[in-house]
Symmetry: C2
Subunit: 310 residues, 2 copies
């Protein structure tokens, strides 16, 4: 099988055996925002053309923002609850220029009170993480620009919520009064705190977020702690990161759910969530994002009719 | 008396009678960020030089960010609780080039849990609002870039909290994914919704903030409501404004305090707070910012020794 996790800013292609073993993988900075109009098939062939030629009947699966309105083929969201089979049932087939079928997986939508929520790409990681962790029920977290907290039951995505944690950190650092207090190096980049100070800043941010759940009110402490020299300015970015991740975790953690939370992320970010969860008495089961995506794509492929191209 | 409310982005000068009646006032876009190094006295004389010359023994009072580290003379914060007399006792006298004394009022600091908070300029408006409203106890709100919610008892500022509501709205509109979904006119400015749609968007934002107190989670609904055509895109900025102001009010409103909240702001902003407070069953007592500042400066002046220049 040839499978792509094709997001907003990056593209990851996998060549997978039927049993899900990764035979090869490639990454490219060719997220959908970097693809010119009408250029999706060309990028696919640049990235995986040799794999497609070598195995002309292998199923071709695509997941992520490539199936959004801004992507290649718009695939309507599948409504939660949805397990892997339900998602695959909502996939959209599209013929490439040579007649080969590509299967575009849907994102997932849910309704939370009076507002909808959506994910696109994370559902594949969630399905994969459940397979890797041997879980069918519980809460799973995918930290990032827009973190998702997902409730899973019986192997199906039941409900979830998006937290704009990573994006809010970036806009506050780059465009607010708070970021203007962060020291910069001569080249304009933000200074990095020594490891012990960074850890201390992060820990205190998490602790304050747990003590005051109202983020609009807690944010300003990033400024006042600097103003009163209660925290070295170089540790203020870590403090702000702790405030935001702490606020996310305080709001998202289920009452009485699993105490061991699968966290699907790159190493550095996953570590921040591990530390913040530990301050709340939880453990994190770290799963690399690409491993989760590959396992999820393999799980979908296993549901395709054996021996027939999708 | 000659008194200045000199903030970050603007300057307002008042000529006041001893009884607080405003004889004349002038505003200039000469906030402290617009003053060149060493240029404060020149800006003072440009703005109020004729008043100073006409009344050489009148007390001269200055309030606001002009007393900050980035201002003219740094005045240390007075620690809460502090009433008008306590604040005046912490004022710093500074001689102008002609020997005239200028009295720089302090800001106020307080400790909330493990973090400090500060205000500078709002304390004068608070003191003035209490005088105008005939109040000595209760909760007062000064909405804005950094909103303050202030608890007053016995005429003294006891405790307060800063909410970065206005600044967060601006950075999310101008620099986040949410703002990229706000329609723009041909000249690049954001489109304004018709009054009924704007009101509907704002009301729904406030309602959702009251339903979900976690702002990090509620923010993304600004995008999904547009994505699913549940709210016309032109009303999304009002929805975001409602989300933020609603989150502020939900976190700030005291349990069992006054149901009639003095709100010190310009007309348009005050009206948003009036509407949001009404959704929670509260009323707003609107007080114009310049009236509150003038009344506060007059209250301080009344405490100065009669007949002697400060």
């Amino acid at each position: 099988m040839i499978a792509l996790d094709w997001g907003t800013s990056s593209l990851r292609a996998f060549r997978l055996a039927r049993d899900g073993v990764i035979l090869a993988q490639r990454a490219a900075p060719k997220g959908i925002l970097a693809v010119p109009p009408g250029g999706f098939e060309a990028v696919l062939r640049e990235t995986a053309g040799d794999w497609l030629a070598a195995d002309p009947t292998a199923p071709l699966l695509l997941s992520g923002m490539v199936g959004s309105r801004q992507g290649w083929i718009e695939v309507p969201y599948a409504e939660a609850p949805a397990d892997a089979a339900a998602l695959l049932a909502k996939a959209v087939r599209h013929s490439l220029s040579d007649g080969r079928q590509a299967v575009f997986l849907p994102g997932v939508s849910c309704q939370r009170g009076d507002v909808p929520d959506v994910m696109r790409g994370e559902e594949t990681q969630i399905i994969g993480a459940l397979a890797l962790a041997g879980l069918a029920d519980g809460t799973v977290c995918t930290p990032g620009t827009h973190s998702k907290w997902v409730t899973v039951a019986g192997g199906a995505i039941r409900a979830f919520a998006t937290f704009m944690t990573g994006e809010l950190f970036a806009v506050l650092r780059d465009h607010s009064l708070l970021g203007r207090g962060f020291p910069r190096a001569a080249d304009g980049s933000f200074e990095t705190a020594p490891a012990d100070l960074a850890a201390e800043g992060f820990r205190r941010g998490v602790a304050h977020a747990f003590a005051d759940p109202a983020l609009l009110r807690s944010l300003f402490s990033t400024r006042t702690l600097g103003l009163f020299d209660r925290l070295p300015a170089v540790a203020l970015p870590d403090y702000l990161s702790g405030l935001l991740i702490g606020a996310e975790i305080a709001a998202a953690l289920p009452e009485g759910g699993n105490r061991d939370i699968p966290v699907i992320a790159t190493a550095g970010l996953a570590d921040r969530y591990r530390l913040a969860l530990a301050q709340r008495g939880y453990t994190a089961r770290l799963i690399a994002g690409e491993d989760a995506a590959a396992a999820g794509l393999a799980a979908f492929a296993a549901l395709l009719p054996e021996g027939t191209p999708a």
